[in-house]
């Protein structure tokens, strides 16, 4: 939670400095930002690949553990497609790309900004921060109403790091392995889904 607030603060500092006219537009060189983006994706991959829990989890739960990230993906896209009807000025694929952030607000907003501009990028940032915070705040309610897997599905890509402690607390430590596995799979899928929807 501390880290999320720090990220948000840096974003806000950027906004304020730009509003104050202290940031020349030349700083936003798109060639540089593209390379930094690839560096970011490489690092995300390294983090996924060096995780130890992927195979332990598969051995312990078998194939049914795949149902958890599958449910998160299907449920998210279904829900987003439904509410996109309330947003006639945004296209379905734009809405889906925001949903495909799965609470991974840093990566999704950066990717979407790169490919579709700052407006949709900001929507992705805010929407996916809200999703992470919903787990941090509502995890007990989620467990009560929707079962033990609920905060894991809602946490999306964050269940291997920022929301893991809260999931452990309310769903119990036997769900830690599932949360880690789920986080890694969704993490991996975020850049793929986001670019997929933006390329449609």
């Amino acid at each position: 939670m501390k880290q999320s607030l720090l990220y948000l603060l840096l974003f806000a500092t950027g906004v304020v400095l730009a509003l104050a006219g202290m940031m020349p537009e030349a700083l936003l060189d798109s060639a540089i930002s593209k390379w930094v983006l690839y560096l970011l994706l490489l690092l995300v991959g390294i983090q996924i690949g060096s995780g130890k829990n992927l195979f332990t989890a598969l051995k312990r739960y078998g194939a049914r553990i795949m149902l958890v990230p599958l449910g998160t993906t299907v449920g998210t896209f279904g829900g987003v497609a439904l509410v996109s009807l309330l947003l006639p000025e945004r296209s379905l694929t734009e809405c889906m790309s925001v949903g495909a952030g799965f609470a991974y607000y840093s990566l999704s907003s950066i990717l979407i900004t790169e490919f579709r501009g700052a407006e949709l990028g900001t929507i992705a940032l805010l929407a996916n921060i809200m999703r992470e915070f919903s787990v941090l705040i509502l995890a007990p309610w989620m467990v009560k109403k929707f079962g033990m897997l609920a905060p894991i599905s809602a946490g999306g890509a964050t269940t291997m790091d920022t929301t893991l402690p809260i999931i452990t607390k309310y769903a119990g430590s036997e769900y830690v392995v599932i949360a880690l596995f789920h986080g890694m799979i969704i993490d991996f899928s975020v850049p793929l889904w986001v670019t997929f929807f933006l390329s449609l």
Binding site: F11, L41, G71, G99, I123, G156, F188
Partner: protein, 91 residues
């Protein structure tokens, strides 16, 4: 899209090969620094974009609606999967 996929996959390979080395311990700190830089510049690109600044309230509302839809959808699926495949008897 292919270059994005290749970036992540080559990262996974590197991460897997180096998983026992000290290098991977620094990856998450390095990742945070890169993310902080990029989010700062995302902030800057929002700040110089008049259209985004002027519409911030409606942008926030759109974000909220999309969050509610996506999160509730995933919660419903999680409930179904939990009941069918994970719940133990008597729980």
């Amino acid at each position: 899209m292919l270059s994005i996929f290749l970036s992540v996959v080559s990262g996974i390979l590197v991460g897997y090969l180096l998983r026992k080395t000290a290098f991977v311990k620094y990856v998450s700190s390095l990742l945070s620094v890169v993310i902080m830089l990029l989010l700062f510049f995302l902030g800057v690109s929002v700040g110089i974009n008049q259209q985004v600044v002027n519409n911030f309230a409606s942008i926030g509302m759109d974000a909220f609606i999309l969050t509610v839809g996506g999160t509730l959808g995933s919660l419903l699926c999680a409930k179904l999967i939990y009941r069918k495949f994970f719940k133990k008897r008597g729980e």
